[in-house]
């Protein structure tokens, strides 16, 4: 698995499409639900999936663990939401914490981890 993360609007998806020669129709865009389709090469917007888990009272990494073998050759893209002010809203607070736990889980399993900053990538693992 390749994990690509970075702040909002940093060009994470463009970076993946460009550097790993992925076609745009091979990208699964997560909605705010617990659904993931591992038939695509790229799983994009994992933070939305995590919000879906928060809303349905589930733990994201437990669902991801069920897909572990299927996600092995995927590119997973997620917005880093860990560096701002603690939100007032309890759901947003849970979202932020679950996102942190999920990043740790994915970062441990990924062969390659890349952080995208203003469109430029920094390889921090692999």
């Amino acid at each position: 698995m390749i994990l690509i993360f970075g702040g909002a609007y940093q060009g994470k998806l463009e970076y993946a499409l460009h550097n790993f020669q992925i076609k745009e129709n091979d990208v699964f865009c997560c909605g705010e639900s617990t659904e993931i389709d591992p038939s695509y090469s790229v799983i994009y917007g994992l933070e939305n999936f995590i919000m879906g888990c928060v809303k349905e009272g589930k733990e994201a990494k437990e669902i991801l663990a069920e897909y572990e073998s299927l996600l092995k050759d995927k590119i997973v893209i997620m917005t880093d939401i860990s560096q701002g002010i603690v939100p007032m809203d309890p759901a947003e607070r849970s979202w932020r914490e679950m996102a942190g736990r999920t990043m740790l889980y994915l970062g441990e399993r990924a062969q390659t981890v890349i952080r995208v900053f203003c469109g430029l990538g920094q390889k921090i693992k692999g």
């Binding site: 970075g6 702040g7 909002a8 609007y9 940093q10 060009g11 917005t79 880093d80 939401i81 860990s82 560096q83 701002g84 002010i85 939100p87 947003e92 607070r93 979202w95 932020r96 996102a99 900053f117 203003c118 469109g119 430029l120 920094q122």
Partner: protein, 183 residues
């Protein structure tokens, strides 16, 4: 050489940018300019400007006040009344303040194309000077769903940041004194 610097708030970006600008002007024997982008609207702003001025004292910067239409600074004058040389070294601190001024002008109307406009203006500024250090703010890792004004502002600033990061010769992230060079 054009340089783009970003990072979190109060991380030492400005100080590092000042050092880079001063060294560049010394090495190339070029005039050293500080582009003051804040348009003060209350006493708090005026106090902040006084603090910034005293922090830059002794560094050799000539201040140019330009809160909007940034390229006009190249045909203007410094605070001390001298004609600006476009071939000097410019420290632009910050892109964030410029975008606020351009996007939210006095009168309450929001300028929705401010991001595209400013990205083009700053690209031109970089091309004309060749020796500008741009300082921006990394405000993209909040766990918040913001109102549309804030979200549009973040999207516009990211568009400018990415434009500048692509065209600058050096891109540096400053994180609590730790510096990572992407380019």
């Amino acid at each position: 050489m054009n340089i783009f610097i970003s990072g979190g708030c109060k991380n030492g970006k400005s100080h590092h940018a000042q050092e880079l600008a001063r060294n560049m002007s010394r090495e190339k024997s070029l005039p050293l300019y500080y582009l003051a982008t804040m348009i003060p609207c209350d006493d708090e702003d005026r106090a902040r400007i006084r603090r910034h001025l005293s922090e830059r004292e002794g560094w050799g910067f000539e201040t140019i006040e330009q809160g909007r239409d940034i390229c006009r600074a190249l045909d203007g004058y410094t605070l001390s009344g001298e004609k600006v040389s476009p071939k000097g070294v410019f420290l632009l601190d910050s892109v964030t303040a410029l975008l606020s001024n351009e996007m939210f002008p006095p009168g309450g109307e929001v300028s929705s194309d401010a991001g595209d406009r400013l990205a083009a203006e700053l690209s031109e500024f970089a091309r004309r000077t060749g020796n500008t250090i741009f300082v921006s703010d990394y405000i993209y890792s909040d766990a918040r769903i913001f109102d549309s004004y804030t979200e549009n502002y973040r999207r516009a600033l990211a568009h400018i940041d990415r434009t500048l990061a692509a065209l600058c010769d050096q891109v540096i992230e400053v994180s609590f004194g730790f510096k990572y060079m992407y380019k």
